[in-house]
């Protein structure tokens, strides 16, 4: 697509260095982006990708080095400079206001503040033209809050294009999309590149990088460790360069399913605001088996997780835990029945940020012996237990008294894993267990889940990452709008086939089939 060397360099990061105290977040990072080119910026969490982008957008000032756009140096520390020079950024967490319309969000900040009227007619016309040119269909008068995640991302891209961006920076753009939405996004990006735009694609999904990028720049510990054309490399080499050593994903042998430990019979729960409840869901989790639950987030996974964790009760249908039906269903009852939970959001519901590791480690067991007796805490015992978890799960921290807020996501997750697995649970509810973790930590978490499975636990793995689901699960279900697909055995489904279910197709036929 590009005549490589001869093409014009539109963005040049020249030996950017940024230090935070003793930590060097970017160490003489250089990057060239040419017209009509897609460069992938690849790296684990903490590799320095975000810092680099914050320097480009003037949120931080670099200690050394400079940013050149179209051959002109950007003044450091000025957020408007990059925008005005034609650089647009689509953040991983969208910067959209939900209660405003698409039109409002797109035009925000594009007109001088001090004028008496906004020129909405011209704005509408421009949005309509951009939508048509780049296949970005959105209704300009829709409230952003009512759009799907894929549509919101289109609004973000529209925002950048509306500002005449010639360079697009996309931070983990596919993290929240279905495979089909990802395909649509890639179609739009190819269109943009064909029209002469240049793209920096930040990601850690190797196959997408191989798919869309012309070149890959790999950051590791703040340094550029490798730069290569995608035509000259493969996923394995990329992964190796990214973590600094050959990655070894855990080898997954099929599980040996045993008796069902938890069963749902036609369970329905009420909708929670815009999040759907369960619609007549029948599911059984068997011992020694990982059940994968795929689906775009917000399609009822939260309702299912809440139900199993004891946070809600079925409105109709039955929850069956092997023994008798349950009269009293609550989080504590769930824990007492051997259900362990790795919550979706480790910051919000998994840990208490300002509590120590010890206090966090006993959140589910503090109320009973040996952690407390007759209403008194047994702190020495709790601390010994925490020390054991720190050692057994290789948690990097100064000690059990450290506030958990200070730990990295990976280490925090390891503590939660330790808390969960040390109780020898028979059912493990793992909701997005590796979200935001780097490859090393991901592999570790997966190994532990597999170990628990081989020990005879039933694992429910909820994830938006199809690769993860397909690699680990013995059986797979897909959720869409609160409905649960039939069970698919390992290896019987392709990502595209699962994507069809994730988009909500196939349920009616599926139901007809079942009856």
């Amino acid at each position: 697509m590009t005549g490589a060397d001869t093409a014009q360099v539109v963005l040049r990061l020249d030996r950017i260095t940024k230090r935070f105290g003793a930590l060097t977040a970017n160490d003489a990072v250089s990057l060239d982006l040419r017209r009509g080119e897609v460069v992938a910026l690849l790296g684990e969490n903490g590799a320095g990708k975000t810092t680099l982008m914050n320097i480009l957008f003037g949120q931080y000032t670099a200690d050394e080095g400079q940013v050149m756009v179209m051959g002109r140096a950007l003044p450091p520390g000025n957020p408007r400079a990059a925008l005005e020079a034609g650089v647009g950024m689509v953040h991983q967490h969208f910067t959209l206001a939900d209660n405003l319309t698409v039109l409002d969000n797109v035009t925000l900040g594009t007109e001088p503040l001090w004028r008496w009227r906004s020129d909405t007619a011209a704005a509408r016309a421009k949005i309509a033209k951009l939508s048509a040119d780049f296949h970005l269909a959105v209704d300009p008068d829709a409230r952003v809050g009512s759009l799907t995640v894929g549509e919101r991302q289109r609004v973000e891209i529209l925002k950048a294009l509306y500002r005449e961006a010639r360079i697009l920076i996309l931070d983990e753009p596919t993290a929240v999309l279905t495979p089909q939405e990802t395909d649509d996004l890639f179609a739009t990006l190819r269109e943009a590149v064909a029209k002469g735009l240049s793209i920096v694609f930040i990601s850690h999904k190797l196959h997408e990088v191989m798919d869309i990028a012309h070149r890959v720049v790999i950051l590791h510990h703040g340094k550029v460790v490798a730069e290569m054309a995608t035509t000259d490399t493969d996923r394995h080499a990329l992964a190796a360069a990214m973590v600094g050593s050959e990655v070894s994903a855990p080898r997954v042998a099929p599980g040996t399913p045993g008796a069902p430990l938890l069963q749902l019979h036609a369970v329905t729960t009420p909708d929670q605001g815009s999040a759907p409840g369960l619609k007549s869901v029948t599911l059984s989790l068997r011992a020694g088996q990982i059940t994968g639950l795929a689906g775009v987030s917000g399609n009822g996974q939260a309702a299912l997780a809440d139900l199993i964790a004891g946070l809600s009760v079925p409105a109709s249908g039955r929850l069956d835990l092997g023994e008798a039906d349950l009269a009293q269903w609550s989080p504590r009852a769930a824990v007492e029945h051997g259900i362990a939970r790795i919550p979706e959001d480790r910051h919000k519901t998994g840990t208490i940020a300002d509590f120590s590791l010890t206090e966090n480690a006993i959140l589910e067991s503090y109320h009973k012996p040996p952690m407390s007796r007759a209403g008194w805490m047994n702190w020495p015992r709790a601390e010994a237990e925490t020390q054991a978890i720190i050692k057994g799960y290789d948690i990097r921290c100064p000690g059990p008294d450290t506030r958990i807020r200070l730990l990295s996501g990976g280490n925090m997750q390891k503590l939660i894993l330790g808390r969960v697995l040390e109780a020898n649970p028979c059912i493990i509810l793992a909701n997005q267990p590796v979200r935001g973790l780097d490859i090393g930590a991901v592999n570790y978490v997966h190994e532990q889940l597999l170990k628990a499975r081989d020990r005879g636990a039933a694992v429910l793995l909820i994830s938006e990452d199809l690769d993860e689901i397909m690699a680990l699960s013995d059986v797979i279900h897909v959720m869409s709008e609160g409905r649960l697909s039939p069970e698919f055995a390992r290896g019987t489904m392709t990502p595209a086939a699962l994507g069809v279910w994730m988009a909500g197709h196939g349920f009616d036929e599926g139901l007809a089939h079942a009856s």
């Binding site: 914050n54 003037g58 949120q59 931080y60 000025n78 957020p79 408007r80 925008l83 005005e84 950024m89 953040h91 967490h93 910067t95 959209l96 206001a97 939900d98 209660n99 405003l100 409002d104 969000n105 035009t107 925000l108 900040g109 594009t110 007109e111 001088p112 503040l113 001090w114 004028r115 008496w116 009227r117 906004s118």
Partner: protein, 314 residues
Amino acid sequence: MDIFDILLSASFWAAAIRIASPLIFATLGELICERAGVLNLGIEGIMVAGAFAGWMAVYSGLGLWPGVAVAMVVGMGFGAVHSLLTVPFGLSQHVVGLGVTLLATSSTYYAYRLALPEVTSPPKIMAFKPWEIPLLSDIPLIGPALFSQTPLTYLAFILVGVVSLVLYRTPLGLALRAAGENPAAVAAQGLSVTGLRMGAVIVGSGLMAVGGAFLTMSAFDSFFFEMVNGRGWICIALVVFGAWKPGKALLGAVLFAAFDALQIRVQQTPLGADIPYQIFLMTPYVLSILALIVMSRRAEVPAALMVAFNKGER
């Protein structure tokens, strides 16, 4: 029936509009602050300070309109204190707001004692006189109610339109609303969230003070400490009642004022003789609470209301 007679009398509606005027100013002020994402609980104290400042300025020899300007500037000063603490410093908006109310109320008391050390009953000023609008004021019922008011009342109604236009039709209004919905989106466009929010609080506080000044310069002609009497808190409820929209907030203010005017009049009917007067005093508040429950259930609260914004934090 007595109540129908009251509802059909021009003097009742004239009173309702008069009672509504200070509420309109202060509600608009609070609405601007909250739309930008800042809850301003300094409103009650700022209204007291504005009532005093405007009245004192006129008493010391300034004209009526310069007096209104003085009240506005004093309000903006307290707004500056509030916004400095809540926006760049990101302190709790509840605590700062109540602090500003206490500060403004007590410094008003202090200034009053300094200015008039030996006065037992506060002096009177020449307050605003009604402007009869030619032709329109001759319309039966509506004329005396709407078009025989003081100029500050007209200004309050005009401001509702102005604030609406600015919020919904100008780039500045869009930026302001976005600052109250998702400040990160504003910052990502290179606009200053701090500047927008501080500006909104300062201007909003100025309007609150004018609302206070209406009491001493238009509704009455003198200053008493108890005269604001919780109107600031009512305005905070009116913002919610109006679902953060100027037009609906105006409706709410007039409705509340009408209840208030009505209860005074019903007290004087034979019905009022049998019922303790406190029941009547209570009715506007009870009805407001009921209306609030009905009206605000589906209101869209600005998503970033009371959320401090720190650049660089995620």
